[in-house]
């Protein structure tokens, strides 16, 4: 039997809005939306971690994602890394020349690269190249009901679509970071030694003395958090995409912007924590010059 019984909606006798109530209402709406989004992303990440630790992802989808995240990102990360190394040499040379310390140029270039620019650059390229694409692909799947189709066929969309992307990002971003570091160091060396004529032996000696294993570890460690953030934010945006071409476009844009802001925020927090750990272990302040 089909039928329905109506219950009248409750009609609240509201007082007319004033400027103050409008202001409170607008800001209240923004705060509630913000808290709600953070809550949604947290639940989304929790479900993703639950699946990741309880069941292996599908081999086929995992390998495709590893290829797209790792292999296809490598050339662009290498190229931008090289240019960043050279740009650092150009920017730093004049100041170092004024105080007669050109031979120490490698210290600032290489330390900046392995601690900061390499991981942030690799993460930015990943967010732009892979994160936006993830949001667009998953958004299109949402709009064309492919995600609903997965659910109706008994496949959990988070396990099937998100876990492989997350694993690809966190496992391969260290490799991309190492590539960005390496190519940046090569680019910095090339510009400093070959173009600016800085002494080859002094440049290498100083670079070796002042760039520690901890610096390299710091960069790679941070990159894992960047990769995880990119995957979760981009997949979340795709899963919550609004209908239509504009919705998919917005999801891709928001995925990149949100990832980038979070990368820099996490970078700051992790730098503070990692420096505190460093100084608590080695106590003395490191000296660059």
């Amino acid at each position: 039997m089909a039928g329905t019984t109506f219950r009248d909606d409750i009609d609240v006798d509201a007082t007319p809005p004033t400027r103050l109530t409008n202001w409170v209402s607008d800001w209240g709406g923004i705060v509630i939306d913000g808290v709600s989004t953070v809550g949604d992303i947290t639940i989304f990440a929790y479900r993703m971690f639950t699946w990741m630790f309880t069941r292996l992802p599908c081999r086929g989808t995992t390998m495709i994602n590893f290829y797209q995240v790792g292999v296809l990102s490598l050339p662009v990360v290498a190229l931008t890394g090289t240019f960043i190394g050279m740009v650092l040499a150009v920017q730093s040379h004049h100041q170092f020349h004024l105080i007669g310390l050109e031979s120490r140029l490698g210290v600032v270039i290489n330390t900046s690269l392995v601690r900061e620019l390499g991981p942030v650059l690799a993460a930015t390229m990943l967010a732009g190249r892979v994160g936006s694409a993830m949001a667009a692909v998953l958004g299109t799947m949402r709009v064309t009901e492919q995600i609903d189709a997965l659910t109706t066929m008994g496949a959990d969309p988070i396990h099937y679509l998100v876990v492989p992307r997350f694993m690809a990002c966190i496992l391969l971003i260290p490799a991309l970071t190492i590539m960005a570091d390496f190519m940046g160091i090569v680019g910095g060396y090339f510009y400093s030694v070959i173009i600016l004529g800085i002494d080859h032996a002094a440049y290498l000696q100083n670079s070796r003395d002042y760039v520690s294993g901890y610096d390299l570890f710091t960069g790679i460690f941070k990159s894992i958090f960047f990769g995880g953030t990119i995957a979760i934010v981009s997949c979340y945006q795709g899963f919550n995409c609004e209908p239509g071409a504009e919705g998919v476009g917005n999801a891709a844009t928001t995925a990149f912007v949100m990832s980038f802001v979070l990368i820099l925020s996490i970078d700051l927090v992790l730098n503070i924590i990692l420096d505190a750990i460093y100084y608590s272990i080695w106590t003395s302040q490191p000296s660059f010059l």
Partner: protein, 281 residues
Amino acid sequence: MSAETTPDADSFDTPLVDARAVSVRFETQRILHEINLSIPRGQTLAIIGESGCGKTVLMKTLVGLIRPNEGEVRFDGRDLVKMNSEQLTRTRKRFGFVFQNAALFDSMSIFDNVAFPVRQHENVAEDEIQSRVMQNLAEVGLPSEVAKKRPSELSGGMRKRVGLARALILLPELVVYDEPTTGLDPIMSDVINELILATRRRYPVTSVVVTHDMRTARKVANRVIMLYPRRRLEAGQSQVLFDGSPSGLDNADDRRVRQFVRGEAGERLDELTRQRQALMP
């Protein structure tokens, strides 16, 4: 409706799907309000109604894709709302869902699309999967060469038939069709209608067909319900305007049902005129 497709009266005793006082709202917009709907085994139910009346929402609620804000949806006596994800996954093996635009996975070949439910739920050899996929594609009238293609290489009608083959590969007890003939030419629409009937002849499946194609509703269904948009109803009015056999549609008591069946704009023309006048300077 032919005699061979009419379900046995005894099998109608226990409903396969039973929705009780189901209400669904998205944010502040209430789409469905306290809908009660019981679908006996073997029945083919058509849900008709104008765009935006909540047909698709009701259908997705019936298979657990949308969780109702109030009420319960029972499948074979068990409440889908109270099931955990593992139980829901097991239950969904008993559903087949044909989406409006087929919802084939772009990244996979047609073969992998149709094989997907088998690989997901059954641990069978690749040879058996191959034979089942080819048999299902043949049953919806698609040649074996189609299996290697991508969904983007097929026409709308072929994609819908692939969607049907995929939905039926596990021989589900309940098959749900979302606007199966929308966007198709009349001939292809009839092909899809015939395939729905052929499925019912093949085994005693229960079907829910959401459509605004009256030809489909009359041809495939042995029961029709008509939903009406809640925003157009007055307080106390039922959202279900009609519940009966397709033959009763033309002589329905409710004027809105007769208008819908005949495709008449009715008072909507007056509304349009009023809106135009209100907007004109």
